[in-house]
């Protein structure tokens, strides 16, 4: 695939992520902060998000396996996940966290379990999509091109 095709593919892919609600405006903000002094800024922030999210999702799984469920602690953790997904523009994950928090507040175990599954699912999707997007960007850079805005 030649450079122009790669660049077009990237633009289309990115656009679809916004259209399908995977990403929101905040992701654009992130990109606008990247410059020659910090060419890997977006990848770095997103990597932090991946690490942080996986940690939180693990802790939430464990919390729901306990005999006595600490809803307050879970709520704090979902709040963190909501915050970080909001900060990078991971729109669907963020929206699910809001629902999740409601179930925590209501101390609804079934609801929490279901929500956790949904969040894990959406997280998996956005992770795959962002990784694909970064790969495309790298291909473009390797081919000597620049990443279209």
């Amino acid at each position: 695939m030649d450079l122009v095709q790669l660049q077009r593919q990237l633009v289309d892919y990115r656009t679809s992520l916004y259209h399908e609600g995977f990403l929101d405006e905040q992701f654009t903000q992130l990109q606008s902060l990247q410059d020659e002094n910090n060419p890997d800024f977006v990848v770095e922030v997103v990597s932090l998000f991946f690490e942080d999210s996986e940690r939180l999702l693990n802790e939430l799984s464990k919390a729901l396996e306990q005999q006595v469920i600490d809803f307050k602690r879970m709520d704090a953790q979902v709040h963190q996940l909501k915050g970080s997904s909001s900060s990078i523009g991971a729109h669907r994950v963020q929206k699910l966290c809001i629902v999740f928090r409601n179930y925590c507040e209501a101390q609804n175990v079934e609801g929490c379990l279901k929500c956790l599954q949904q969040v894990k699912h959406e997280y998996g999707i956005i992770k795959t999509k962002l990784e694909s997007m970064f790969q495309l960007e790298q291909q473009i850079l390797n081919a000597g091109g620049s990443i279209p805005v």
């Binding site: 903000q29 902060l33 770095e44 922030v45 932090l48 709040h79 915050g83 909001s86 900060s87 990078i88």
Partner: protein, 177 residues
């Protein structure tokens, strides 16, 4: 090869008046850059905030908790600011660095942003503007912080355009020369 005359050897050379001026100007510019203390328990938000602030030419120090912020400001063991090696008991200096603005997240474990705000306002740092940030738009929380002395309450995630508001506060707090 020409013998280097002693007066041309770099280390012995006295800076010319023009260069001296340039060096002083550079140092002054650094001194004049606003220094922001950013407090947030989220590593992602700290990274974002740091970038936003640096992109606006501020100097930034990030800490991960209210306790660390109090420590930085010399307020951890209650009493007066820790006497640092800098001889001046300048109210707005610690560890040799001035602090022009404090930006803190509201929800943090341990010392919350609100706790931090109250501590700061009850100390010799009270004239430093404090901006509280939160991902939640809760009117009672907002008024509580503003009444507690916060200069501004901002919703996360912050954007570059939000920093313009901050600039106004910083300029206000500058002593008139």
């Amino acid at each position: 090869m020409e013998l280097m005359k002693s007066e041309n050897i770099v280390q012995d050379r006295q800076p010319q008046p023009q260069e001296e001026e340039e060096i002083m100007q550079q140092e002054e510019e650094e001194e004049q850059r606003f220094h922001v203390l950013a407090v947030d328990d989220s590593v992602i938000d700290r990274k974002l905030l740091e970038k936003l602030l640096k992109a606006s030419s501020y100097q930034v120090t990030c800490v991960e908790s209210g306790e660390k912020a109090l420590e930085y400001l010399g307020l951890l063991h209650h009493s007066s600011p820790a006497s640092s090696s800098s001889s001046q008991h300048h109210h707005q200096e610690t560890q040799g660095h001035k602090v022009n603005l404090i930006m803190t997240d509201f929800s943090m474990p341990g010392t919350s942003g609100y706790d931090l705000l109250k501590r700061i306002k009850g100390s010799s740092w009270k004239d430093v503007p404090v901006v509280v940030m939160s991902s939640e738009n809760v009117p009672s929380r907002i008024s509580m912080c503003l009444e507690g002395g916060a200069e501004e309450f901002m919703l996360k995630p912050l954007q570059l355009s939000d920093l313009h508001k901050i600039q106004a506060h910083l300029l206000k707090s500058l002593p008139h020369s």
